[in-house]
Symmetry: C2
Subunit: 222 residues, 2 copies
């Protein structure tokens, strides 16, 4: 089947180039020539460059959400309505993220893509991700809510984004940081090393004391 081969070769090449250079900086000609595919193949199979970008993300996020939902199902089964501890929730999410790209050894690419999704403008991509994968995030935050009853809702909202920033920022910029770390500390770190280092930091961040001063911010006119 020649079609499938062409499609996957485009996706394989595109995801690497996107992760390395970003979306706007990667031309279809670069992708197709490196993938040894005709230039028109992208528009034929995907319709447009935007759709190609979305397809690259879908190939990671579809299996991720499926696994993550299943893992949360199992967790809720185990805890029978009892609140799931924060560490368990974080551990489960980390495991789901790590499992997905395992087969292709492309965890680094996956992380870089997530970073790009946040930082690069690409309004269409943000909308696409929000629409297709927003529900699983909502489910997760609901469970975190039960696990951290001491946090006001708004405080939890911000802290989740704080740690999200930590994780995505670190793992997506891994290469550059790793080079420095190896030069300065003679130390080779793998992604899994980093996840191990991240764990206590993320937990501590979520469980930090509430900020002093006004606990309640100015409420808008409702």
């Amino acid at each position: 089947m020649a079609q499938t081969d062409t499609v996957t070769r485009i996706l394989d090449t595109a995801e690497v180039l996107f992760a390395e250079r970003g979306f706007a900086e990667t031309s279809l000609r670069t992708i197709t020539s490196k993938a040894k595919v005709n230039l028109a193949a992208v528009n034929y199979h995907f319709g447009s460059k935007k759709s190609l970008i979305q397809a690259v993300f879908a190939r990671y996020l579809d299996p991720f959400t499926e696994r993550f939902h299943a893992a949360l199902d199992a967790l809720e089964q185990d805890y029978q309505g009892q609140t799931i501890p924060l560490e368990v929730l974080l551990e489960t999410m980390a495991r789901s993220v790590l499992e997905v790209p395992a087969e292709r050894n492309s965890l680094k690419v996956f992380m870089k893509l997530l970073g790009l999704a946040y930082s690069q403008a690409q309004g269409h991509l943000r909308r696409y991700i929000q629409e297709h994968y927003g529900s699983v995030f909502t489910r997760f935050t609901g469970l975190v809510r039960k696990a951290t009853p001491e946090l006001p809702d708004s405080e939890r909202f911000w802290r989740l984004h704080f740690v999200l920033g930590t994780v995505i920022f670190t793992l997506s910029g891994l290469d550059a940081l790793r080079d420095i770390a190896e030069k300065d500390f003679d130390e080779h770190v793998s992604v899994r090393d980093l996840v191990r280092r991240l764990r206590p930091v993320v937990v501590a961040a979520l469980q930090a004391p509430l900020p002093e001063g006004a606990t309640e911010s100015i409420k808008a006119a409702g």
Copy 2:
């Protein structure tokens, strides 16, 4: 003086557009037309688009490094060789960052630019920032080292980047997050509110317990 006027009008327009859309997605024609300046003015005054990007950053980072160095000077004077507490160091850095763009109400732009500097490829920009502003960061990390003697060097290195990720990620993506927060919690947050929320989280992250398992990672052949 017409020259100065043209130059600043280009910089004022460029920094906003870069922050909104990124570098590659912002054309010189968009900048010059919005700035009501001739297209060739950019190449005439700055030489190239790359140099314009660097100039945009320099206009923020030059005064920042100057202030930050001065603040650290004063701090070292005060503490007379004694170790400066971590909270004081973080507070000083936060204050220096917040002061710079105050005059132009462009803190948001400044933060977005910092985020772009990390996330967008732009190798030339990373090199430029490293070359011109690396020293002040080195000085700061040296002081943090004294303030956190319990941390192994490599662990401190990674944790500083963790919290850097938190701050840049949060503040550069502020607009989108703020919209959600306002919708969900009827709560209006300013940048300074966020800094107040960030403080305990950052401190907790830096002071979190060491990761369990191997404290030392695999050493490379030295």
